[in-house]
Symmetry: C2
Subunit: 183 residues, 2 copies
């Protein structure tokens, strides 16, 4: 049982790391602006609102960070012991399913933002879309850094979700599908 | 044990479904073309090569489909019995890790292609990127259908990867971390 508590502590540490990375990503994207004089008095300000997927990424990361904080607080203030049986199992299932949803959501938002940013870096010849990053270089580097943090956050969340899977599925028997193991 | 063989059969069925959806996606994207006269003699042909993420999606889906076919063939011709212990466990770990990698890769490729296609549908005011889909309507509808199949394939692959997690982690004890369960 001591071993299992250590495991739970490591899960909490992973969740805190993921939350920190998610918040770092969203702050880097949210407060990223660059103002440039394009032509005489024509001034253009680049913000995260210029590209929809960056806007979506900020909200998805915020939601994922909030979920992980709530999860850690619940683990801390209302620890559910394994001896509770059905309640423990229901919570393990809920935690596994929500964790899976969160990791796929964050991963999708990050991939979409990365793809849109790549288009901003390279433009598209066939569509006659101009490059944007040759004018807003600092802005683009900061987005790049944020997306890298987002990728790290996704990897940590994938680990968290594997740990949830482990905590859930080890409860079941090796002999029959979804039959509980004897103590 | 009979129950477990049924589970294995369901895993194989899921993998075949995923493979079919992946191949459908890649065929829909790969053989999608539309030719349009833009202005007098200026003819433009839209193909999947016009948008990098569609090109990447075709190759990622091909690789994922090939992996799943190989996995099913191995399960069919060289079934590994659980009694083999270490070999069974190593294979279960390998299968779990590769399945996780494949589902994240397919999911990322699909999200990136979806984001790029959304940009082609809506254009971007701030970047002065033109809409493309008002000219190549049929082409865009077909890409939309392909991306929907790709999303279904991702969901089936996520189920496959959950099943791999279940088959692996049920082998372990509830008491100590990564300690094998007694028979």
């Amino acid at each position: 049982m001591v071993e299992m508590e250590k495991l739970q502590k490591q899960g909490v540490l992973l969740r805190i790391t993921a939350t920190a990375l998610l918040i770092l990503t969203l702050l880097l994207v949210r407060f990223n602006t660059q103002t440039k004089v394009l032509f005489l008095t024509l001034v253009k300000k680049a913000t995260y609102r210029d590209l929809d997927p960056l806007f979506v990424l900020v909200w998805v990361d915020l939601a994922a960070a909030a979920y992980n904080v709530v999860h850690v607080l619940i683990c801390f203030f209302f620890p559910i012991k394994e001896e509770l049986g059905t309640i423990y199992r229901s919570l393990a299932w809920a935690s596994y399913l929500v964790d899976q949803g969160v990791v796929y959501l964050v991963f999708a938002a990050n991939s979409a933002a990365t793809e849109a940013s790549l288009l901003a870096v390279k433009g598209s010849n066939s569509f006659q879309w101009m490059k944007v990053c040759n004018r807003f270089t600092r802005f683009c580097y900061q987005v790049g850094g944020a997306l890298f943090c987002g990728l790290l956050a996704s990897i940590v969340l994938a680990l968290v979700s594997s740990l949830s899977a482990y905590r859930l599925f080890r409860l079941y028997s090796t002999k029959q599908f979804l039959l509980l193991k004897k103590k």
